[in-house]
Symmetry: C2
Subunit: 112 residues, 2 copies
């Protein structure tokens, strides 16, 4: 029944893009992709910044719904929430299509 992928929440997409709009965070997303669910300690290894910085970034990603973490023993594992990526994805689709439509409208105006 395809729930309701209607307006794609134009305004609601901004936080998602904002969360992705940082090189460190993009890197985190990429690492979570390549390595699957991981602990903060592991995500910190190999980077030049602090564990706390990573923690903060993860929280930002989580607030945007892009990532989710839960405590397992003494460590907390974080993993990607791919549905949210899809929201951004659909928004870009929408915009592209609108732009094409706008262009052909302009074409029409010019040609008549």
């Amino acid at each position: 029944m395809k729930p309701d992928r209607a307006p794609a929440g134009l305004e609601a997409s901004a936080p998602i893009f904002a969360a992705l709009g940082d090189a460190t965070r993009l890197e985190l997303v990429a690492r979570l992709c390549r390595g699957g669910p991981q602990s903060i300690a592991r995500l910190t290894r190999g980077t030049s910044i602090t564990r706390q910085a990573i923690t903060k970034h993860l929280r930002v990603l989580a607030d945007a719904g892009l990532v989710r973490g839960r405590r397992l023993g003494r460590e907390s594992r974080w993993e990607l929430e791919p549905e949210r990526l899809d929201v951004a994805h659909r928004y870009l689709d929408l915009i592209s299509k609108r732009w094409d439509a706008a262009l052909s409208r302009l074409q029409d105006l010019v040609e008549e």
Copy 2:
């Protein structure tokens, strides 16, 4: 020959997402889509913020390559640069696919 849409510049995408990660800017992009190329004055009409604020946002979008403006008489017209949207688009695609791959890898590990 499809130039080289190779690595999609993982790190290079961050500025694009950052530029889109603001409600006002997203709104601007949307308006440029719906209305086609427009002047700053026109883009300002209907918003609650200042013309200068709009100008700044446009510059941010321009720095990310998402938008381009040129002076026409006493006004400056701004329009969308849809190729850049595509960069972000492709990045999300890439990530989604990697994630799927990572998931099936995990599946394999669990099942054997």
